[in-house]
Symmetry: C2
Subunit: 521 residues, 2 copies
């Protein structure tokens, strides 16, 4: 490992403070130390990205698609290095890292397929009507264009799929935006391996230097410098509510404010309805337990809140209690997350009226143990702090009357997901609750659990604040491409001055809207 930043096609020099990863399972400090970039190196990365933008945005969609696919192949050639270093840096098992790498390359290829298809551009053509009264209509054509260099912050809990070449990087590169990645201090080695793969792909594909850089260093220093830089036009972030809000505030205070897409904090309410609880409480408890403890609960879609109607809860709770008692603690991603988990769960149980159902196993240092809390709806409604996310394998079960559960749902902040378990009869009776949940969340899950976010065209992984900074967007799936684009219109342009996507002959054979009607190629 070189353990320095990637400044376009060059590497940084070792002259800053060194930062080491720590193996969360053993507490061992790992070599090498990664050098923070100098202010000049940060500036160079930005200037290279700004210089690359005019060339990169003008490449054909096919060329960008080829670049995305080459990144995917280069990552695949590094899979052994990724999981070897990754398991040590993150405590995640080999299977998870292999699976996450598969997701990452699949995501890159899905965006490449989106580029091939072309309909995402929302290309629109309206022909001139010189005889229209009272005013002639001009020829007017529009499509989406990239906004400019984007900064992507790596996520601690997705060292592959939401880090160096993860979702935000894939969507930004696909749309024509250069990317500067701010590496996460928890997995700098994985970041180097993946960044090297991206750079190899960029060089093989003849991309302009600066289309990709990766910077080490702290979020407060390097990260904030990037977010405030006038050449940066958008930000992607996955992490804590405090961290995301700090970026939002900095971006909004710029002379030229820019969008920040921060995925921050969600407790993902789950509601189980009476008839289905009567039918299969033990299976529901098993499913809930699996969703709660998967990946040691370190998912933004972890089910952190469960509503159970009073009188229907006993069989479910009996089964869940037994599962939790026997549940094994797991290594958490890093010491900071582990401590925050302890603090959050201690804060929850400190509320009067909150009962704790804990694992009987003692967690080793660095580990978090699954835990479930219980309270009644009155307690929940009186204590808004009970809605705070406990990042890890913890959830709060709230029991109450149907009216209380509806009121509690209505009191929630914005969520990534909301899940309902019910029979046909249950769901028919829950229309009012459903209406509330749909206004609160980005994705409504029926008879399932919120974990598991399919990377696809219809996925919405984004919801009203504070689950994300901007509920109009998704960070997973091809709709994420919209976040780094803006529409541009050409009025009365000669054919040869138009992008291929808007030419009458439709040389790229893409679906477009023509004179108000959607048209196949």
């Amino acid at each position: 490992m070189t353990a320095t930043s990637f400044i376009g096609y060059s590497r940084g020099v070792h002259n800053g403070p060194l930062s080491h990863a720590t193996n969360p399972a053993t507490g061992e400090v790992m070599e090498p130390g990664f050098a923070s970039p100098s202010a000049d190196e940060v500036e160079s990365a930005v200037q290279l990205a700004a210089a690359a933008f005019p060339a990169y945005r003008q490449l054909t969609a096919a060329t960008r698609a080829d670049f995305m696919r080459t990144i995917a192949s280069e990552i695949e050639t590094s899979i052994d290095a990724i999981w070897t270093r990754g398991t040590a840096e993150t405590g995640l098992p080999e299977a998870r890292l292999r699976g996450e790498t598969a997701r990452t390359v699949g995501q890159l290829r899905l965006f490449a397929a989106m580029l091939d298809d072309g309909s995402w551009l929302d290309a629109r053509i309206e022909h001139a009507q010189p005889d229209r009264t009272p005013l002639p209509k001009p020829d007017l054509r529009s499509m989406l264009r990239p906004v400019g260099p984007v900064v992507v912050f790596c996520a601690s809990n997705f060292p592959m799929a939401y880090s160096v070449a993860g979702g935000d990087t894939a969507s930004a590169l696909a749309t024509g935006c250069p990317v500067i990645v701010k590496a996460h201090s928890s997995h700098p080695g994985v970041a180097e391996i993946v960044a090297a793969a991206v750079i190899r792909a960029a060089q093989q594909c003849g991309m302009p230097e600066g289309v990709f850089s990766l910077l080490y260093g702290s979020g407060r220093d390097v990260g904030m410098t990037l977010v405030k830089h006038p050449q940066i036009k958008a930000v992607g972030f996955t992490g804590s509510r405090a961290g995301g809000r700090a970026l939002m505030d900095a971006a909004a205070a710029r002379p030229e404010p820019i969008p920040v897409y921060a995925e921050m904090s969600s407790i993902n309410p789950v509601v189980m309805l009476p008839e289905i609880l009567a039918e299969k409480a033990p299976a529901l408890a098993e499913g809930f337990f699996q969703s709660l403890t998967m990946g040691v609960g370190q998912f933004c879609t972890n089910p952190g809140l469960l509503f159970l109607p009073e009188g229907s809860e006993s069989a479910f709770l009996e089964k869940l209690t037994s599962l939790i008692h026997d549940a094994a603690p797991g290594v958490m991603l890093n010491a900071g997350i582990c401590q925050a988990y302890l603090d959050a769960t201690n804060a929850t149980v400190a509320h009067e009226g909150v009962e704790k159902i804990a694992s009987e196993k003692i967690p080793a240092p660095g580990q978090g143990a699954p835990v479930v809390f219980r309270c009644n709806a009155a307690t929940f409604l009186q204590n808004p702090t009970l809605t705070h996310e406990m990042f890890g394998p913890a959830s709060l079960i709230v029991t109450g009357t149907w009216e209380q559960i509806t009121a509690a749902a209505n009191s929630l902040e914005g969520q990534l997901t909301a899940s309902l378990h019910g029979t046909t009869n249950d769901l028919a009776a829950a229309a009012a609750l459903m209406e509330i949940l749909e206004r609160k969340a980005g994705r409504i899950v029926f008879n399932g659990f919120p974990t598991g976010v399919d990377v696809s065209h219809s996925m919405v992984h984004g919801g009203p604040y504070p689950s994300t900074s901007d509920g109009r967007s998704t960070s997973v799936g091809t709709m994420a491409a919209y976040r780094f684009c803006r529409p541009v219109a050409w009025q009365n342009a000669p054919q040869e001055q138009l992008p291929d996507e808007l030419k009458d002959a439709n040389p790229l054979r893409i679906a477009r809207m023509i004179d108000g009607k959607r048209c196949d190629p």
Copy 2:
């Protein structure tokens, strides 16, 4: 006239300070005085909007389309009252007010047609793949949903098309968002006439109370209260850069930040290339003059900056100078705008190296006279304040070498439009400049002028900051619907729990994306 706010289906009571319109042509203070709403009345309007949202958003698209069309018809029945009061309040001529009313009702009907068509919803269906490895794929469907109650600020320069029932109101109501309009103090009477038409339509169509309210009062007090209210989910604004930025900052500082769509400040650069100048300089000067002086220059698309290549400018300038010398002053919208115009033009001419070409007619009080300034590119590049908008019939002509013009274009802030005049040869030689302008602007106009914004599917009336707060959006045309929406996904939902737009049977016959492919109904 009742001269009080519309709080849902009730009217406010006269208990606040009264505000009077002033006839800008005569300086006469007009009766009646319009009452500022009390804090309780503002709160009532918001609570009614919040209460209306769940019902309004669940109405069928056809019902909302019918509501839009009924608003249009009700406005048409009021046309005589509109132009009579409007000419006195704004100084705009009858023909303009009639034309703007036609545009306003056309815009409402265009959004109704968009609702009928349904493809704007971006409905997506992906069928389950239970056998997919390594993980089964769930059934996943998504479409756009409204964000919630929206506040719309009326624009002084578009008393109809960007005021009470203007573009922002039309797009918000179309997407399912209740609207609270903050009236502009320049044309409170027109606001009352149009609001009454909207309310009649809402009652005829059985809309939930609160789907529309209109509040008088000041922007700093009533406007800011609305923007900071937790039940408000988005803001539409057209006005000054300072006013728009104040709203952006307030919205970004909320506990739950919300999007502000502010259309603020643009100087709309025009570039004329050598060959076309040689061919038809007098006609270009005539066209430029018309665009500059139309509506006394009070358009956001007014051509406030013109680049002329050194050596090609003389015939153009000769003709333009003669037109400007003879140009008649015109009544401006209000005394504040008139004073600001004087201040801005005085500030421009105070720069060393800036020459003034003025009308020889003396403006009466309340009038603004067309004026053109000239400087060389070096002066322009050394004085960033020369890029400030002069709202009114004023423009700055910059001459320089091609390299200087390119550098000057590259130094510009974000713009609503950029226009190029050139022959085929000219345009072929200007590729580098075109690339720069496309990054700066929302709409590129070829061999035309920026004024005249067609209301259509392909129009982009939005550009990078500070032309608007959010260049990812347009305030004119059907793409404006996207500003008040967010995507929502349904996972494994039973058919009867899905919106009609996402049901397998496609009962609304709308275009959708199915398993990654765009499909006609």
